[in-house]
Symmetry: D3
Subunit: 171 residues, 6 copies
């Protein structure tokens, strides 16, 4: 049976010792979605087309969350990211906004938590900005899409989601 | 059509002016789940029964996230919480852990974002602590369950989720 | 001769004791400007008209700075703001962007530092976002415009700046 | 026409991708001033000569701001500084204190924002500590003096300010 | 047997629910000491007499730590302090510096952790600033001296420490 | 007489310039204790045996404090730790819990402050969690045990503490 690396032999929480690991170029992409009312999505889009503020604010929040993941997730190492890219895909058919974040760094440990934190906080920020008009929003499907670098090499999520037919958020 | 309160007439982002709102006793409960492999859930449970570290660490992370929601979500007001309660429900049937957070405060504005942030960061912390053995985890169904206080009064989520048959995490 | 309230009788730094002061409704407005190249201003405006990202990002940064002023300025008390409003005025004649912030709260102490921090960080964020095309920018004229509340009552800056003929940033 | 590097092709805010840039030894020096009343300057100097607390507190605040620039300016990368030096020059003739900060690091991106943040927060801290006796202070002339390292090499501000005849703050 | 209030019936960590407690005026005083080499103490004093920087920097660090205690100690509530006073007493006989902090607030919960955090971080800052010349320093005797306010009323530490014959740090 | 490296020639506080120092593998171990009532220690142990929450929460707080030492101690450089290990030793004879932390990194400067901060905040967290049942706790004997790396090489505390006869905290 595999072992939980964050728990040592005594069962105590620990910051995994990465002292002996090599620095490598690492990438991680994560994704998640927020389900909205049809009307709410329109409001965001109208605003977005004109000024983009809801999504830009969510993007800024996500970028900042990625940078401070080590502060939010107790057992994450502090790493310096060289790239944080956050995109939103609007799917009018099922009234969702999908947030996708891609991060890169040179480090002794992976950065999937940074990509996942960026997605989570971006989606929470959308929630916050439209919650006055829509209380039934649901944030779902936050997962790792792909990662590379380090000893374990490339990982791509096998279980394919159905192809997203949403249009890229145009401005 | 309703208006986005976080966006002013010019479409700029703004911290909603709550100067004229009365202080009231407010509550919010939020919920979300993480889907795991059967084997991963067992590992957490074994560890939990003995020492509870995975879930306790996730709980601590969630409490701290609730307290710093104003720092994570750009347009949230800074409020002082008088209660943050975080619980985990393990559902062996579908291999999920549900995180539920209940927060209270006396404030001029609601605290659903605090409850939602607590849930999100708690689940991300579980993810982080077991990601070495399970890369296919998915965080889902983060939503507001109930809130009260303020002008809008009591809100209870209408669309009932199917009754959770999970057992309360025992220790 | 007046005394420095932040320095006690021994000359040590101190957090001014506000225990005996009454809570009152307080307001503060501050202002400052950034001088840019003509070409840089055009770039921001073109971007702004289409998407508003430079100014929106600066606005978000300013709002967040106001909320964490107590963390940035060592001897500021931690207060909860009920309003943070940040506006930008573009003056094409002299190629400047003026940032104006208005904050409100109910507190035992004033909030001019919150308004001033919001202005400073907003302007630094504009600087950061356009520094690749313009290294000669200068941030100037950061000052308190007006404040009210508390024992000292209303203060309005006497020395009038020349009337700004800039146009309000339209989007 | 040059492009705004912080805005991608779609006009979205982004953390500039520095993955492919080489690490180089980088330096940046920034400067700014605060205009005070004659009487206020004397108070600071008297205190300074005896205990130096106003300027020392401002220096500490500036050093801490430089270290957390990545948290204050949304699109700044997180970098580790190897040197932060903050000096104050008192000019009795025109009643100003000029703050100068010099920072160094080994990084894939420049650090002018760190130097500028240090100056801004140092000056705001002076403002905070003497605002009880002087409400007409103005912070001005915050600019980059010099920077080196990276592809763009050495930059020195061409437009010379008039020689400062102020005396170095002696203690 | 008494119960641990931070641990609920199931043994989980919790933020104690203070929703039903009344707001009261609260005070707390804490104390702790650092043992130094004779030579180190002289260095600090010489510097202190001239410029006071070691102790002023320690004082600033302590004040800032008190304000962010809720961030450092996971189960502390976030409270706004109305007074933070930090003093140092130098005892040449046994080569120690004693740090004493007094805090006040109006809150539903006590603030002894704020007073204790201020002392701890102040002493660690002294340690940091002189560690290049003295590696054998020991920080000791960090304890609560007195607290008042709330249901439990006044508490004064019964076990008297021997009278401190140190001189108040003069500047 | 040795010089205080954190104070420059003028006596100003400074972030020590480490630009020219080589990166080396560095380690530091620090230690400190908390004195409790017999009854309090039993409560922690009972809880610990069953769920370990008090000590696990203290451990998490210590790990997070180590990561943000640069934010707590004004003149500490920001460094990325590759290992943070925190252990507790319970000594039933004298009713103390000793906290020991070991940190590692590759950096241009030492990390003893990170190890010492981890110990201090871990002990304060224990204090916070049991203070409702015990107000006479004292935190003592916080010191550096050992450090290595950098120009100064290995340091081991010479003055041996009496051998600790405490049992390792078993769970």
């Amino acid at each position: 049976m595999k072992k939980l690396t964050h728990i040592n032999q005594k069962g105590d929480a620990q910051l995994v010792d990465i002292t002996d690991k090599a620095i490598s170029h690492r990438k991680a992409t994560a994704e998640g979605s927020i389900q909205l009312n049809k009307e709410t999505l329109k409001l965001i889009q109208n605003n977005m087309i004109k000024k983009g503020d809801v999504l830009n604010t969510a993007r800024i929040a996500g970028i900042q969350a990625a940078k401070k993941t080590w502060e939010l997730i107790p057992l994450c190492h502090s790493i310096s990211l060289t790239k944080i890219d956050i995109n939103f895909i609007i799917n009018k058919k099922n009234n969702t906004i999908t947030c996708q974040s891609s991060c890169e760094c040179f480090a002794q440990t992976g950065l999937e938590m940074e990509a996942l934190s960026a997605v989570s906080i971006s989606l929470l920020t959308i929630y916050d900005m439209v919650k006055a008009v829509d209380r039934t929003m649901v944030i779902s499907n936050i997962h790792l899409v792909e990662k590379s670098g380090g000893r374990s090499g490339l990982y791509k999520r096998e279980i394919k989601d159905k192809p997203k037919k949403g249009v890229k958020a145009k401005k």
